[in-house]
Symmetry: C2
Subunit: 304 residues, 2 copies
Amino acid sequence: MDSPVALIPQLAAHIVAAGGKRLRPLLTLASARLCGYPGSDGGTRHVDLAACVEFIHTATLLHDDVVDESRLRRGLASANAIFGNKASVLVGDFLFARSFRLMVDDGSLRVLAILSNASATIAEGEVLQLVTQNDLSTTEGRYLEVIQGKTAALFAAACQIGAVVANRPEREEQALADYGMKLGIAFQLVDDALDYVADEATLGKTIGDDFREGKITLPVLTAFLAGDEAEKAFWRRTVESLEQTDADLDHAMQLIARHGAIKATLDRAHRFVQEAKDALLVFPDSPIRRALERVADYSVHRAR
Amino acid sequence: MDSPVALIPQLAAHIVAAGGKRLRPLLTLASARLCGYPGSDGGTRHVDLAACVEFIHTATLLHDDVVDESRLRRGLASANAIFGNKASVLVGDFLFARSFRLMVDDGSLRVLAILSNASATIAEGEVLQLVTQNDLSTTEGRYLEVIQGKTAALFAAACQIGAVVANRPEREEQALADYGMKLGIAFQLVDDALDYVADEATLGKTIGDDFREGKITLPVLTAFLAGDEAEKAFWRRTVESLEQTDADLDHAMQLIARHGAIKATLDRAHRFVQEAKDALLVFPDSPIRRALERVADYSVHRAR
């Protein structure tokens, strides 16, 4: 994060120090270890590349918070709320560029290909989300495309590069990419459920953000499709036209509960978690494989 | 620019089709040719890399226009004015990622190092510009740091990679980087002068933008330092406090003219152009070297 331009490390340190789960770099470290890296030579490439992954994630968070006008992130004021949108856009660009520079130092064109593809896919997912926002005719398939792009692609890449540094065969690389992709989808499904049920202090971000922005997530789609005409009209007014009163979020949460939409979303997440764990079966049982399985279970049982 | 998410090629095509001088990719093409690339094998790496350079430039333009709240770019409504800030931020990210993917396909880690460094330096220059905005105590040295970062670094990289694809020795690579750096500084000095003297229809963007945002450029610094107390108070009110009336831009232009600040800025640009041309003297005289010399001359004689 270092730079002679003091605002850059200041802003970057704010978002990094705020914490976060560090799930993506953990996936790179654990995937590398699952593949036997480092061996007796004590290599540290997985550590450097885990940092690259977290930098890319941090850059997208900075830009997301600008795009979503978020005021809260990881329990603290968001970087854009403190330093302004302009600084957040530019420091995001800086971290993104710096991340590619770190990959160049690592020297693997294969890693660069995986992470530059993932970065383009993230942006595609975010744009698709923007396009489907406020549009209740969005299909579930479209919604899954959005979360595969904006979230799961980086989970997949983070895992896949663990196999790349360990020089493992294509089959294992693909298994880890599958694990990461399924895990990432499950993770985002849970995120989208939490936005309608979580405890705000525990979640560390404002609850109901998705509703206020009219984001089309699975809880909303499920409740909308199961609703009667009056309920459909409610969703059209609040989510499509963004005409909302203070009581609307509570009503939305009631409708979502009434139609079992949280349970449906979490069931969906559970199935993806099972698929994620199944993908790991190409590897023999080991403490590190079990740790990755527990990471998958955690992703659906977390409260934030 | 291709993507299944239709808004991405739409938005990207808008800014690309609006034109622009294509100066940076031209520098890559011409630098490669100056270095004897392609030889008889008819390579096309310089074409692909010229596209990378223009993609990085386009991504920064999309983000700049969001940061500067610009409404006009290349004589048309800016992308953010038509598609919104959110889409501009995200499509900028997409183009940036895609540009790195193109470099990976080219396969040179040296090119990747040069362009990832340049990308980080651009962001640093933009952040430094944000920090010095509205601050009349900014020194000329600081101002030169800003324009080296935000503009000249990519000019330098665009030229340098021309030598890299041609496998030329370090000395020629460095000469082309120097040429690009000096040319880029001159180019931005002229840009900053044009913002106070240009004809808006010819310029293709709104005149006086820098003044309205309180950007500290050489014309303003020169007029401010040469001004009497009343003039200094004028600059403090308008540029530092951003308290501006409709008549203030005209008055600013008069003060700038009275103190010869445009001439001083252009004289400075002329000296950098001479240094840029001198850097090319490590190459023997040739039609392509003369073309690059004329590009340098053009950069100070242009009207937009």
